[in-house]
Each structure stands twice: as structure tokens, then as C-alpha cells.
Subunit: 275 residues, 2 copies
Amino acid sequence: MPALRRRQACRQTRIEDLTTRNLKITLEYDGNRYVGWQRQAEGESIQGLLEDALAKFEGGPVTAHGAGRTDAGVHALGQVASAHVSFTHPPATIGRGLNATLPEDIRVIGVADMPEDFHARFSARSKTYRYQMSTDPIGDPFSRRLVWQLREQLDLETMARAAATLVGTHDFAAFQSAGTDVTTTVRTIVRSDIVMLPAGPPGAPARFAYDVTADGFLRHMVRAIVGTLVEIGRGRRDAESLAQLLDGGTRAQAGATAPPHGLFLVRVDYDEESP
Amino acid sequence: MPALRRRQACRQTRIEDLTTRNLKITLEYDGNRYVGWQRQAEGESIQGLLEDALAKFEGGPVTAHGAGRTDAGVHALGQVASAHVSFTHPPATIGRGLNATLPEDIRVIGVADMPEDFHARFSARSKTYRYQMSTDPIGDPFSRRLVWQLREQLDLETMARAAATLVGTHDFAAFQSAGTDVTTTVRTIVRSDIVMLPAGPPGAPARFAYDVTADGFLRHMVRAIVGTLVEIGRGRRDAESLAQLLDGGTRAQAGATAPPHGLFLVRVDYDEESP
């Protein structure tokens, strides 16, 4: 509601606040401690903490819209929020101020001024998620909150072959959790890959990941795809069975939902080259 | 007390238990949740959890001696423990069983049979510690528990030059916390370097580290050296001032003790090539 927010801004005293400002805020976070992006009745949310931090600048309530409503325990390397505000600080000052207020597991990594009609979710052209996994039989104490540690051998080549069959425009209803009210379950996946990750220094998670880019995602869609890919990697399901779930399969025919802590919202892309 | 333990073992019923067995157990752990290696009256310790897990195999109490008594919040990539036991399971079975009992942030990465007189601490020839730091002004949500995030620029070249002056046999009393009762504060450092770490995948901590290998360490010695090196990196202290603290300096003349969560016991080396 930009118009409403603009009217609210007019009630401020300073002349430079007569028009509202539309901020794009890019965030990284470790989702382990949170109920998810979205503000809830109980528990701490990323949205709630960001809005509270913005309210300190604004001297009043601010609404932040997130590009992806990451679930409890899901992380972000490049979540994007948009918020109409009336304060006039330079972007770098806002970024430093927000980071001084936010807890250390949520970091603002970019602040930019955007046109009035930019909306983090509705303007998004595509989103990219990464789901981190490892097959290490012992497990790694340092990345256990950021990687799904499967502790068994998986056939990664077959998983990669299956993952590639998801590219294109399909009905992904078989990979959607119940309890949502979307108008269509058709989405377009432009990238769907198993990627090997370099072994990093201590604390580096993961040996491999599932990377997926689409114009939009249904509820728990990435985690349902990953759960199904893992069943393929275990040899309990054919690589070909994944494509058979598209355009008519049911949720019960797909695999279990993978746990949240391996999932990262990596990037959100917009039509125009946004800063 | 091998003799006492051998007598206890004789009270077991099985013939193969008549002689005790000396296990070398290599461990990785994330120290954030623990009071440290050493069993304490309050709180969970690595030693306590390992001894409890060994007691399940033994059917009675087991004492585990650690090579390094890591403090609360300090991690390990290669802590070594030794324990006299009487059970006869193969090493791989013991490793799997201990990992099934231990929490996910403590992992046994090696189990081997050793000669009767092997002792994790007294047989150690040298230990290597790594202290992870970053200068990233924003901070990284995923590695904040494994890296000292300094959030300011440091002169790493001057720090490296200062670090190198510690190599050799010196009195390190200036880098020892009070409250210990060691017979000598002389130690021999064979390696003392600032190393750049590769940027890994999400969750990878650190941009650089202080790596140090010595025949032994005094209480909080690595953290006191790191605290002093950081003051040098900030330009508040000359590179040359570090060497001046050796062989006669006092704790008050050195820098503050760096926080525990950046420190890892990386490796313990023994005279013979031990498995």
C-alpha cells in the first residue's frame, strides 16, 4: 500500500519526508533459531526483527515484504526485502544501523533505493535455492546445522540425471505441501542441478548440493524435490520416476520432505538490473 | 593407573579380558555447548561424554585422558584421548558405537590399539592449534561460532612478521593465565604463522588464521598470543614488542585473551608414527 504509506509519511514534520522512499534490503541469515521469514504470533522471525530494526530509524512501524517466505530453520544468502520508509539516511548508514540492531545471525548485506513500485516478491523474476547435503558416514560437527548429513552412500550421477528432467514449465503439485492456497501449481524451472562443493576450511559444510532456479516455488517444493532425489540416490526409486510426477502426480507419490536446515535462499533476480 | 585397571579387568568373566587394552581415540568437536574437555562438577564436558560412551562398552567406569585440555568453547579437529579398557570389539566397531552414543557435535574419527604405556598427553611430542579470525566489517551469520569476527581492518603482514618471532625455545610466562601450577613456563614453538584461508562454500568460516605448533602450551597461551597479535594488527603495538615479552615479560604487558570460539586443537603428534 504505497499510497497509504505516502499519506502517513506526509504526517511527518520534515520537508524531505513528503514523498516515501522504497528500500531494497538484501539479507543473509542462519535460520536455525527462527520461526522463519514471516512474523508469527509466537517466536522470533526474520521479518519481525528487520521491521523492528527499521522502526528505530522510522520512529514508527514499517512493513517489510520478503521475496521468499523461508520456513523455520531455512537460511538465506540473498533474501530480498522491500519497505516503504520516510527517513532520509544514506543507504550505507541504514545498513550499518540495521546491523548494529539485528542479532549476529542476521546480516544486512545491501541497501538500495528503488522505484516506488518495486516489490521484493511481486517484482521477482526468479529465485535460486541451494540444498546442502553430505554422505560422510561419520558426520561433521561444524556444519551439522547447515547440511543434511545423510551418512550413507548415494548415487549422485543418477540423482543429477533425474534432477535435470525437472527443467521446463510443469505442474509441480506433487511437490507442494498441503495447506496453501495458490491459484496455480505451474512453475518454470530453468536450472536443476546436483553440484559438487569444494571442501573448505573447518566449518565448511557439505560435499554436494542441489541447486534450483525457478520463476517461483510452491510451499516446501525444494525440500520435496530433494527428498525424492535422495530416494533416487538410495536406489529406491528410478531416475525416470521423477519426471513422471510432473503434470499430474500427487504429493503421496513423491518422496518425503527433506529437513529445513540444509536449505538456503541463495539469490533473487529482478527484471531490471537492480543494485 | 594401568595396574589398577588391569586388576579391575581381571574381575571380568571373559578370558580375553585378562590383559587390558590401551585405546587411542581421535575426536572432532564443536566446543560451543561444552564446559571444555575436562569433566567438571557442573555442565557437560567432552571427557565426561566420551567416558560415559566408553562405559557402555566396558560395562563399568572408564577414564579417558585427553592430549589437550581445551577450555569451554574451544573446538577440536584432532583431539586425542587414551583409555585403558577390557572389551574386545574391533576398533571400527568401537568408533561406530561411540558415534551412535555421542551427540552430533562430538565425533570419533579414529580408534586404534596402542602399546600399554601410550598416554594421550604424556606421550605427545607436539600439538598444533589454529585460531580463526575474519576482518569482514559485516560479519558472517554462518561461521560466527567458529571465527573471531573482528570487523575491522588489520595489518596482516605485520602480524605475520611478529608471529614468526615466537619460534624457538622461550619462557612464555607473559602468555599464561593465572591459576595454574606448572613446573616450568618454558616451551618450544616450531611453527607460528598467519595463514590465509580459502573462501569456502556457505558456512565456511574465516579469512585467515593463526597456526601454531609447540611441544606444549600454557593455560590460555594461544589466546593470549592471538590477543597480542591483534593489537599489533590494529597498529596499537609494534611487531617487535611481541618478542620483547618473551623470557621475562609479564601477563599485564601482553594483550587481552582472545575469545575461545575461534580456537581449534588441530592435531597432536607422537614420537612414533601412531595410527
